[in-house]
């Protein structure tokens, strides 16, 4: 049975410095939740408080409705995968996997059975007698995950587990962790600064900035309806274009032109549009602006255009397929008005 986690007004301070400012969050049983945000936003601190590795300064942590603030890490039913893997270098893979079970004084036969099961899931059976130094980065990561699996915990925590791997391996391990979640069905919390990992793995994304939750929601909810400039800029790759704009009745003045959007636009100071929502084809949406092409990247499946508006604002355009666009030419950027995002001076969505 999967586990529910509830954070009520969680605060973390180091002396006078407050790093987490009253977080309220509910993680439903079996959910794969990703904490994402830039460095120093408090995502790892939050994870470590849930794990019991950092004392909670204020607020309440509930796991299955039971208060956990004072419960030692080992009794929370949690297993954690560290960024550095934290494998014991003097023990072989089997001993690393068995360490927690031996600590719990489990019978040897059961330990062997659990290690064999975890090794089979992660396909590391041939590595059991090897020391960590004899393993590749990906294999070490598998062993670190295996060490979490053998304990059969209620909750899995991942602290930037893929950041030490190369790009190809990261994609591969991302898929494997997602599969693992599907197979085991446990509640999992995953910390990353990589929004692509967050988008591809999460059931629920929690975007953090400076110790505060900016937005919580499903990946596509955050992509389609960001609540503010920060979330709009953080979620999505390449990043959303932000153009300085102003409201004029029901029109928005932007990039030397004006757009009639047919909805309330009062207070608009910034217009946001994702690069992949801009087209060069006439008749698809409304014309946003004429832009000068500065650079073209042909990626095969996509063509990325780096351009500048008439009022000298940078704008990126992602087109599907292979397009031939000459440098220095002026092209007309069109958009679907329904996919525009308007923000006020405070950065909140209108």
């Amino acid at each position: 049975m999967a586990t529910n986690i509830e954070l009520r007004k969680i605060v973390k301070s180091y002396g006078e410095v407050k790093v987490v400012h009253g977080i309220d969050l509910t993680i439903n049983p079996g959910e794969f939740t990703v904490f994402v945000g830039p460095s120093g936003c408090g995502k790892s601190t939050l994870l470590r408080m849930i794990a019991g590795l950092e004392p909670i300064t204020g607020g309440e942590l509930l796991i299955d409705s039971e208060r956990m603030n004072e419960v030692p890490a080992a009794r929370r039913g949690i297993a954690m995968v560290f960024q550095s893997y934290a494998l014991y270098p003097h023990m072989n893979v089997y001993q690393n996997l068995a360490f927690g079970l031996e600590t719990a004084k489990m019978p040897k036969a059961e330990i062997a059975q659990r290690v064999a099961k975890a090794a089979a899931i992660l396909k590391i059976e041939p590595l059991l007698q090897r020391k960590p130094k004899q393993l590749s980065g990906g294999q070490r990561q598998r062993v670190a995950i295996g060490r979490a699996i053998v304990r059969e915990p209620r909750i899995f925590l991942f602290d930037e587990p893929l950041s030490n791997l190369d790009a190809e391996l990261r994609v591969q391990m991302r898929v494997e962790i997602a599969k693992l979640h599907n197979d085991l069905g446990n509640t999992m919390i995953y910390v990353t600064h990589d929004q692509v990992e967050a988008m591809t793995m999460a059931d629920k994304i929690v975007v953090l900035r400076a110790g505060v939750i900016e937005q919580v929601g499903a990946p596509l909810e955050l992509y389609n309806s960001p609540k503010n400039l920060f979330v709009a800029g953080f979620i999505g790759s390449p990043k959303m274009n932000f153009l300085t704009a102003s409201a004029d009745g029901s029109k928005v003045n932007v990039a030397g032109g004006s757009l009639e959007l047919g909805r309330a636009v009062a207070g608009t100071t910034t217009l946001g549009v994702r690069p992949e929502h801009i087209t060069l084809a006439e008749g698809s949406g409304v014309k946003l602006a004429d832009v000068r092409v500065d650079l073209v990247e042909s990626l095969g499946g996509q063509t990325v255009i780096y351009a500048t508006t008439a009022d000298n604002q940078p704008i990126n355009i992602v087109l599907e397929g292979q397009r031939s666009v000459a440098l220095g030419t002026m092209v007309a950027a069109h958009i679907d008005p329904a996919r525009l995002h308007l923000f006020n001076a405070e950065g909140d969505v209108i």
Partner: protein
């Protein structure tokens, strides 16, 4: 065009005549290096290798510094092992000292290092304070101070008298005299402590966090993580401290007044060697004693290295 390319364009005979000789090339290329090396080389050959070879020769002679050495073959070694109770007494004292002082000193040094590794305030100050005895420990002044502290009217007995205990004269009692030297040695824990502290700081915090999530107690973390990961440092410290303990001389010399008494209880091997050399001027026999000590330390060190692969864990 360079000088070299000009030369290569010359006829073969002329080229051979202008090619500098091997010695000339060595002189031009390597002479500055040898020049800088010279002071050390003179010291090494004249003050280390020379005396070693001489002492090895003298160990097969009877030599009193005043007359020429007389070749006696292996007699000095034979006498040492078959007919010299003082040799065996000094060996027993030294082995006792090594066996107790080294592990106790290392354990104490590790305990203090672990306390200091807990992120306490003023760590540099404590580190310096704890290291101080190591700097002073081998000095004559500290040995004299130690004699005063453990004398019958010394500080220890005065403290004991305050709680109504009449303490013995620790340094003139054969049952306790060697222990005063062992305690002095343990007090000089600063040097291994600093090395342990550096070793402890190399162990990633993540490993302890992973272990604490696994429910490992502090003791289990120490036994299963700290100690194994610290074995390279333990190995280094054990070798250095054992060699130091075998060579220990000054404290025993000062505290016993150079006699090794009471009843040879502080007759360290090096003290006996000193007595033979500079008390009785038996330089040949003293040289033989020195070579036996060297052999003993070498065997111990070799044994340590050979067994290290079974208990020392290197990460890479």
């Amino acid at each position: 065009m360079t000088a070299r390319s000009l030369q290569s364009g010359a006829p073969a005979g002329e080229r051979a005549a202008t090619t500098p000789s091997l010695w000339a090339r060595i002189w031009h290329n390597d002479a500055p290096g040898y020049l800088f090396l010279l002071p050390w080389l003179i010291g090494f050959l004249g003050l280390t290798i020379g005396p070693m070879i001489t002492s090895f020769y003298l160990s097969f002679t009877d030599f009193d510094l005043l007359t020429s050495p007389d070749w006696v073959g292996a007699n000095n070694y034979i006498r040492m092992f078959s007919n010299d109770p003082k040799f065996w007494a000094s060996m027993r004292v030294t082995m006792f000292f090594v066996v107790f002082s080294v592990p106790l000193k290392l354990a104490f040094a590790l305990a203090v290092a672990m306390l200091l590794n807990r992120g306490i305030r003023g760590l540099p100050l404590y580190r310096a304070l704890f290291y101080l005895p190591s700097l002073l420990g081998a000095s004559v002044a500290i040995a004299i101070l130690w004699r005063q502290i453990f004398a019958s009217d010394g500080l220890i007995n005065k403290l004991l008298a305050m709680v109504g205990i009449m303490g013995p004269s620790w340094i003139s009692n054969p049952k306790t005299s060697l222990w005063t030297l062992i305690i002095l040695s343990i007090w000089q824990f600063g040097s291994p402590m600093i090395i342990f502290l550096a070793g402890l700081r190399q162990i990633p915090q993540d490993m302890y966090e992973a272990a604490s999530l696994d429910g490992a107690s502090k003791w289990r973390q120490f036994v299963k993580i700290t100690l194994p990961l610290l074995t390279p440092v333990v190995f280094f410290n054990a070798i250095i401290q054992t060699i130091e303990a075998f060579k220990s001389f000054t404290p025993a010399f000062i505290i016993s007044g150079g006699t090794g008494n009471p009843i040879n209880s502080t007759l360290f091997y090096t003290l006996y060697l000193y007595q033979e050399a500079f008390g009785f001027f038996r330089m040949g026999y003293a040289s033989a004693l020195a070579w036996v000590l060297l052999a003993l330390v070498s065997v111990f060190t070799a044994f340590s290295f050979l067994t290290s692969k079974y208990w020392v864990h290197y990460d890479e």
